[in-house]
Symmetry: C2
Amino acid sequence: MKINQFAYVPTAHDQIISELTRIGFLNSQSQQINDPQLLFRKLLLQCYLEHSGKTTRIQKIANLMATPTIDANTYTKSGRPLTKEAFYNIALQLLGFLDDLDFSLADPLGSMKKLGLPIIPLPEHLDCNQLIDAWYRLLNTRNKYGQTLIDYLAGRGYYHFLNDHRLVNRPLVFNGKAQATFDTGTLIREVVYVEAPLDSDQDGQRDLLKVCVIRPAESNHGLKVPIIYTADPYAQGMNVEWSKKYSHNNNRSLTHKEPNQLTYQDVMNTYNDANVPKPRPVQGQSKETEETFTKFWSYSLNDYFLARGFAVVYASGIGTKDSDGFRTTGTRDETISTTSVIEWLHGDRIAFTNKSDRIAIKAWWSNGNVGMTGRSYLGTLANASILSGVTGLKTAVVEAGLSDYYDYYRENGLVVAPDGDDADSLAEWTFSRQREAGDYAKIKLAWLTHLKAMRQQEAHDSGNYNQFWDARRLLKQNHAQADVLLVHGLNDWNVKTAQAWNMRKALKKRSVTQKLILHQGQHEYLNNFRSFDYTDLVNLWLTNKLLAVDNHADDVIDDVIVQDNAQPETWTGYKDWGGQQTTWQVYQLTPNNMKNLNGNNTFSDRLANELFNDYTQDLVRWRNDLYTRNGSPMDTHCIRLLTAPLNRALVIDGRPQITLRAKSDANVGMISVALVDYGQAHRLGDYPQVIKSQKILSGYNWRKDDLREFLPQKKVTDFKRITEAHLNMQNRQNSYRVDELIPGKFYELQFEFQPTFWHLLSGHQLGIVIYASDMAYTVHGNQAINYQLDLTKSSLKVPILKN
Amino acid sequence: MKINQFAYVPTAHDQIISELTRIGFLNSQSQQINDPQLLFRKLLLQCYLEHSGKTTRIQKIANLMATPTIDANTYTKSGRPLTKEAFYNIALQLLGFLDDLDFSLADPLGSMKKLGLPIIPLPEHLDCNQLIDAWYRLLNTRNKYGQTLIDYLAGRGYYHFLNDHRLVNRPLVFNGKAQATFDTGTLIREVVYVEAPLDSDQDGQRDLLKVCVIRPAESNHGLKVPIIYTADPYAQGMNVEWSKKYSHNNNRSLTHKEPNQLTYQDVMNTYNDANVPKPRPVQGQSKETEETFTKFWSYSLNDYFLARGFAVVYASGIGTKDSDGFRTTGTRDETISTTSVIEWLHGDRIAFTNKSDRIAIKAWWSNGNVGMTGRSYLGTLANASILSGVTGLKTAVVEAGLSDYYDYYRENGLVVAPDGDDADSLAEWTFSRQREAGDYAKIKLAWLTHLKAMRQQEAHDSGNYNQFWDARRLLKQNHAQADVLLVHGLNDWNVKTAQAWNMRKALKKRSVTQKLILHQGQHEYLNNFRSFDYTDLVNLWLTNKLLAVDNHADDVIDDVIVQDNAQPETWTGYKDWGGQQTTWQVYQLTPNNMKNLNGNNTFSDRLANELFNDYTQDLVRWRNDLYTRNGSPMDTHCIRLLTAPLNRALVIDGRPQITLRAKSDANVGMISVALVDYGQAHRLGDYPQVIKSQKILSGYNWRKDDLREFLPQKKVTDFKRITEAHLNMQNRQNSYRVDELIPGKFYELQFEFQPTFWHLLSGHQLGIVIYASDMAYTVHGNQAINYQLDLTKSSLKVPILKN
């Protein structure tokens, strides 16, 4: 067990006194106390406010051991000096650690260190001021269950039992972070319909979009609140079954493409808003909504902020149940659908109380500051909103969001969509208007026509970049003016790492603050991990951006935080990703440089039929056979090259590139390359495990969350993919320009991998696996195509972080 | 998808009118309406009370289709007659079913039938009274997400939006079931300490036990409420790591036991309460508690009842954190620890506001009626309380509870505890007092002495019944006077089916009502399944037993409800389990009666070392090899006998018996027998799958629950264990009497299987697999013991349900 903490704000003693006084741990009386034991006793008793009887609270501290033989009740009355060992023994117990299991009463300082918990510099015997500093640090230290002590106490009702009306239902900041002081039992839940400057279903009327608001009751009485907004196209229902008929079968051949001479001008899309209808005439104004709602899924990070005085807003956007419009998968229309809600929250756009009566309603309770959250599609809409530069949007916390749809569904002229997904099937998946039979009956025909057009324009067969995809390159507009916190999984092969990499590149051109967290998961939320104080960090960030508290968030939070792949529960701060001091190490792929495992420089893409069929059913086995160095049925279908065992560890930081001289014996061809980390290890799993269910308290009598962690796998494995890349040999120049491919002719191919941050341990080997069809990503038709590489003229370039 | 409903109370038209009026669907005005369309429109609009605006509600009904082309808004204004097709089309949509996916607008009646949904007899055109009856039935019909429509509406706030103060925070019964009318945002959570007539830690003081109460705020203002009580020894923390050192290694030889002449008198235990200290003198009285609490795990069925005006009480009992005493695993002390809480709730025992000050507090808000709930250990404590006959306990809903600890940890003179568990390790597992270092320091020595004594007395090595186990045979006392609803999994090999079987036998001797539900799971809660209205059924039951509402629960609920193993989502009512009209079918095990798969009548228990080690690591593989008819390394280590394929289906209902003539070539020996269902099928999985997360609404703005189901496995399998049995050949007479075993001598062995209810399909074969060591249950030392059976003098007796 190891705990990493990034969101602690270093605080001076005077400020500590003032903050502890504000939250009730100190008062004028306690500031007269000169006996550290007496003060310590007072602080300890204060931790058990849910017991109104003092005898019970004394019993509670008697349950804590100060030394291996003396309990805290006896100890604090003993007249002895207060030792730092006793302080940390009790601290560890308050944090939920168990003697004889998680720590040792005989060695509290060693235990703190081993667990990664902070110790402040202290003499052997504490005086009152030292105790106060240590206590403050302790309240802001993470416990065994993924919360700071003060958050855990607040979850047990600390602020509510203080009986201080100045604290409850008011924003309260402690160590730079908003506290759980709000009553979530009286939250207001209401619905409005924002009128977006769009007519995506072309019914001649602007699209009305359902917006679900959750806000503190106090905001009805003059409190202006900041807003966390999650644009969630999935929330109104998913057409899992209906979208199946739009799924693409990638079990098909790669086909020859006619060469073209296209330039970017030829594939450029221009957004046209000339035909947007006029706004509806407003018939009246209201301060009261007409509708409430029941939410099924809510993001637990948002729930956490509800207890801290933030409003939370969910909207699903055009084409979803109870809204107008059509799903379009990533166009400017979808961005406008998303930002219209922000404009309403900022006072710049009309919303109505219902879809018929044209009674306008303002977000009169809003403080005008909006921050977005969400993962995947939800994060994508946050990226799009950031890039739009919409006023009122002060920040976004983007987890695994897209910045370019072409890079999601395509790569260098190839389809790389797993599961046969594509833009049209995602549109149908999220088109929840279809779930209301009465609504759907009116628009069915237009919708089917729209879907058919998408299917044709996305050009699944060609894999080329075209106007359809240009309309979905979110990075095309870059008016970003809000600070951004990006979060991405280094093993995310759904939304791949280049999405975050390219977003960062764009943001660097704008004068905004950006932060990045890279974790070892696939496609995951991070707000409930034990080893990493993500929730606290987001709190610090949003308290700064939305509550406008000067808590030094920009300075305190490292620019880039990376979870180590080689050591569990290890997170480290860096200055940049790929922009730090790196050396480009070049690996020539010649036999004297790299060990060629099977001695191939040619391979065939054609597998025995039975093997091919088996692999289509079992991708895990296919990938295992592809990478294994011990020989497999894939031996003659790929080239595996390995460096010598590393004599010291290295870190790949950024985007490796490969140059291959290759030929195909057909007039079509594709090359896939994986970089692989070879070496026996208990590697981390890509999926977090629940280590304690329902243990995180988001607030007093409020939601609980499961505590999770990426745990090392029980099994030792010999390899893990670091990154990979794919290229259609006809798209040697770029993804829209198609060149001829002459059978038997060598071509130089140069392309980039998904960016990474990878710790290769000493003794491990870097491997390059070159193959053609990717059973998991590309089309795969089991074609009898033979490939040959000229390894003497091929090389790999890898950015290595300087020590 | 198939929905089964058992908890609907048949209701006459007059009563329907009165109930619908009470809950706001009818009023004096609507009773004047003669136009069924107008009335229907009114009922539909009433379903959308969360929309205060009428235009929005009209839009909502316009989203429903009445016919394949006409929406419900247009239809109800059309002046046409109201057809039953239109009624059920709209009904299906209100229930969450989707046209073109779950049902067809062209055939609503066929769709209703296919889904298992009830249709009342109706003419083609409905009049107002028929509409009212159909509407009532619809409100009490289960939707796609495992709730009745009225419960779903209540979850969306129906009762709260009625704005009728007579309905909210008052018990309200509809179709015999308590409704979700209570505000869960204002629940009171408080702690008291019950003084039990026990001194299980022998500190000279009666044990004080922490009791956590959750009750409606209204109970502070004169409302007397019934109580659902869950005795949960796990709730205060589990010593997962610490208990590991008490785990038993069953990878050991079966040892010879000295023969004895013991009778039951010799092993009988008598409970001695002579040394219980006097009660503490009371120093005062209070109506107010001093302490609140935060609960981490709560049983979602209990949460459901909190929204319906029931109080919920949790207590962990002796030896758990914040309570006094020691864990004893199933003794009378544990029962008294459990029933003391009921006595307090009924007004018959003292509780204090804290552990020191002796201020007594009564459960002055209680209506005196207590019902228990819980699974496994929790259910066991409910069984024990029922058998104690304690006053105030009106019923228990017992899921997978024990009735005899010997049958849990032992069988016919053998250890049958999986994972090396035993009474001592369970005591340590639940001894959460150890988690408070200060408390533990005071009692550590006494606790270790107690544990050591348990370990010695449980006699893990012998496997015999003795005084230790007699003290843990809960069925020994049988003063049951409360009605019981038992629930058990037919594939539960943790708490096995004989536990419920024997409890039923005991209850039949008492004048109480008992019901039983047998499901196809392992060790599972049932309150969130789509195919079975378990929660409604428990509501009907507890509304009858605890709210004392005369809702005919005893008549309405079938005595025994069984989930079919051969068909998914199929639940059927029966009169009894094993007590119905059955025929005992006898199968002689001779070659002309049964096909002997490997032709063996002898087998060796000794496996090759490597195979043995592999099996200890992979019990799934061992079991598969044991049962497979296609040959495996287990072929020479067991006897596999199969009937001919059945020419018609049959149902095994009850407890099969086997008679074997067998010999061992050593002076020790054990026989295991499994009955196996052979035949290719997509069998149900033993573990439920989440089919929709967070979709069940327990109440308005209250907890959500995941919808689950036992789904058929994707893979076709050839066999599944029906039941099994184990016997130590030295315990031929009973589990305490030990006889000599002479090597090479044939003995007649007669023993019983775990009871079952098994549907063997036509074409399937009944198999008997005879072996010795059970890698999953018994000790297994890979001993070189050879067994021989005289199959000509061996037979199986199976109770077959008469058609």
